[in-house]
């Protein structure tokens, strides 16, 4: 389809009007698509995948004033609809109704940044030529006005043959115009003269002409962005701030999260004790207290910490700082053979490797992309955080390292994050100088203006995260905890459960014990390592259950079960504790990640190689540390 005439033919055949309408949100990156989407749908949204393709998108529903509902589809951010990257192909196919399983949208919300209208208007040409009813939404109107720019929305609507709304999604101003549009009858855009879409300079001329007719006055340059950049991109202050931010995040995770975690822990142990006292002494009371509360409860305690981490990542991303961090990191990335673009997925792998691996789609070079996918699980994801916290808190006494600014525990945590990063760098270097060698790909990255993150979008992120975490605690971890509790109580001897060492779980643990003994781990840790293959934090639930049962056996009453920290101190030497940390830093213990790697690389070859490599590295890393500790080398 090269111009508006081609689309007019396709137009007639696709207008199946169901009762519930679908509206697609399209726009260039950084135009505020997600902000508007969040505003319109609130909590009524979910992440979904188009069938057969890996591109993740959000779908949500919104209620109109008359009670009807509309489905909203948040498509990937694109600059054009020329199908060169996967994002562009998906967006194009979705608009043309060519995506299998997804019906053609009834209308489009085209979100453009009004402070950068000259360039963003270029996307209007291909979208309008698709012939779908379109509302052109000019976002960031407040910013445009503040910086002395202006645009005549009505004149622009005449030029484009489609209605135009001037809004500020972040400030929730003018959004009623969008809601009204969605409630009304959708009308196909009036035919207007559009440029040849393949010719970018022609498209740009067209958008300049349209802008002129709409009396578009571009705003003054963003003063604050320039001021901030002169600090954040300062040759010395820039990297120093980068480091400072990282340290601040880790210190906050320990100091601010601690009271919250203590409170959650008190809640969990008080309720466990209450159940233990009020319920009759039966096997299912023990299952509830030791299995469910001991297993799930000990994981849920870490929720505040994970939310604080995600709050930081959200602020860094939404404010625009992440793009600057990618710029600063590009040289380092180039040295290991990757590009700055790989840096953003790798940073988000600090939250979770699964979305990070999906985010590698923006890397055009296939070999760079696979290399990034393979190293992403080395980045310290939030599932490692509870494991690290528990072991560090049990074995490292808190004392100041850098005055009151950095404590020894935060420093140890920071060290583990650096260790994961180094493992990723070395692995990338190996891959890029051998099997995944390729020409260097050009690096181009748009620097968005700095913006205040909105409470709404940060809140939604945290809500999403909390739900995902609790869901995992309620499903995988619950199932593993219950299953383990049962295995720890069988086979029955004279109608009574055996000592845990003689149970099925214990036998299993003692079978693998010779293999992990050189690392300093006993059979209980062995069971934990096995269950944590499903997901890293499962080890905490597992140990919680095992020690819960053990404690109950020793003391007679479940509420006196020993705390996890004390139990670990009893079971691990300091050297073995460090070995356990190293093991978790390197090992690939996450079924979700393996599944997503298989999907993204199209086979079992890469995930299998990745799993083998990481397991070997973890085993020998832990072995070296523990043996060195035994020989008194540190």
């Amino acid at each position: 389809m090269s111009d508006c005439h081609g689309s007019a033919v396709e137009l007639a055949q696709v207008r199946p009007s169901g009762t519930r309408k679908t509206v697609a949100i399209v726009g260039p990156p950084n135009a505020g698509k997600s902000t508007l989407f969040n505003l319109l749908t609130g909590l009524r949204q979910k992440v979904a995948n188009f069938p057969g393709v890996t591109v993740e998108h959000r779908v949500g529903s919104m209620k109109l004033r008359d009670g009807r509902e509309v489905d909203l589809l948040d498509l990937p951010g694109v600059y054009s609809l020329e199908p060169r990257s996967e994002d562009e192909r998906i967006t194009r196919d979705a608009l043309l109704g060519k995506l299998p399983g997804v019906s053609r949208p009834d209308a489009v919300l085209l979100i453009l940044d009004s402070t950068n209208l000259g360039r963003h208007l270029m996307l209007a040409a291909p979208v309008l030529s698709a012939g779908i009813p379109t509302l052109v939404v000019l976002n960031m109107a407040d910013d445009l006005e503040k910086r002395g720019g202006s645009v005549d929305a009505e004149a622009l609507a005449n030029q484009l043959g489609a209605p135009v709304a001037l809004i500020s999604a972040a400030k929730n101003e003018g959004v009623d115009a969008v809601r009204n549009y969605l409630s009304g009858q959708f009308a196909v855009p009036k035919p207007v003269e559009l440029p040849v879409l393949q010719d970018v300079p022609k498209c740009r001329q067209w958008s300049a002409k349209v802008g002129n007719q709409a009396r578009y006055q571009p705003p003054a340059p963003p003063v604050w962005t320039r001021r901030l950049d002169s600090v954040f991109l300062h040759p010395i202050a820039g990297p120093a701030i980068f480091f400072f931010v990282a340290v601040l995040v880790f210190q906050t995770i320990f100091t601010v999260a601690q009271p919250l975690m203590d409170a959650t822990e008190r809640g969990v142990s008080t309720s466990a004790a209450w159940i233990g006292e009020t319920m009759p002494e039966t096997w299912w009371r023990d299952l509830l207290v030791e299995g469910v509360w001991g297993g799930v409860g000990s994981v849920v305690v870490f929720l505040p910490q994970i939310l604080i981490l995600f709050l930081f990542i959200g602020i860094l991303e939404d404010s625009g700082y992440l793009a600057r961090a990618a710029l600063i990191a590009d040289r380092t990335m180039a040295r290991i053979g990757l590009q700055g673009k790989s840096f953003i997925p790798l940073l988000s792998a600090y939250a979770c490797a699964v979305p990070a691996i999906m985010a590698t789609r923006t890397i055009e070079n296939a070999r760079d992309r696979i290399a990034t996918i393979l190293i992403a699980p080395f980045m310290t994801c939030s599932a490692r955080l509870p494991v690290y916290t528990l072991i560090i808190a049990a074995f490292i006494p808190e004392r100041p390292v850098l005055g009151s600014f950095l404590g020894s525990r935060a420093a140890a945590m920071l060290g583990l994050y650096v260790l994961g990063f180094l493992a990723a760098l070395v692995t990338a270097r190996l891959l890029k100088s051998s099997i995944l060698k390729s020409d260097r790909m050009p690096f181009m990255l748009e620097m968005p203006p700095y913006r205040w993150p909105t409470v709404r979008s940060l809140g939604l992120r945290l809500y999403d995260r909390a739900m995902a975490f609790l869901k995992r605690a309620g499903t995988v971890i619950l199932a593993v905890s219950i299953g383990l509790w049962v295995l720890a109580h069988l086979p029955l001897k004279d109608g009574r459960p055996p000592k845990i060492e003689d149970s099925l779980a214990g036998t299993f643990g003692r079978t693998v014990e010779p293999l992990i003994e050189p690392l300093g781990f006993n059979w209980k840790i062995g069971i934990g390592l096995l269950t944590s293959l499903a997901a890293r934090e499962v080890i905490i639930g597992t140990l919680g259950t095992i020690y819960g049962i053990e404690g109950a056996g020793e003391e007679g009453s479940p509420e006196q079960s020993v705390g996890l920290q004390q139990a670990l101190q009893r079971d691990l030497t300091p050297g073995a504790a460090v070995a356990l940390l190293i093991f978790f830093a390197f090992a690939m213990q996450c079924l979700s990640t393996l599944a997503v790697v298989r999907r993204e690389t199209g086979g079992w070859k890469w995930p299998a190689a990745q799993f083998a490599y990481m397991t070997v590295l973890a085993y020998f890393g832990a072995l070296v540390v523990n043996q060195a500790a035994i020989r008194g080398l540190f």
């Binding site: 000259g118 360039r119 970018v200 600063i328």
Partner: protein, 85 residues
């Protein structure tokens, strides 16, 4: 740099110092890449100004057509500009 002597001389984006600007003349890159850069604002005829860079001067941020885009030196070297007055 002796570039200021002859204002009409052709240089590349990589030669611009922070704060200097020029008019983009052509992109000596494969078509696919050139298109991508043009979509980001690097359309011939537009004024491009060199801005801040990562420590060490590479990659550098360029201001063009209302946006700021970071490019590595190796890419900037392929974009020819005429120095503006």
């Amino acid at each position: 740099m002796q570039l200021s002597v002859d204002k009409r001389r052709w240089v590349t984006l990589a030669d611009l110092l922070e704060g200097q600007q020029g008019v983009l003349d052509c992109l000596e890159l494969p078509e696919d890449l050139a298109r991508r850069l043009m979509e980001l604002g690097f359309v011939p005829g537009h004024v491009v100004a060199a801005a801040k860079s990562a420590p060490g001067g590479d990659p550098r941020v360029f201001r063009v057509d209302g946006s700021e885009v970071a490019l590595r030196r190796e890419t900037a070297r392929c974009l020819r500009v005429r120095l503006a007055e």
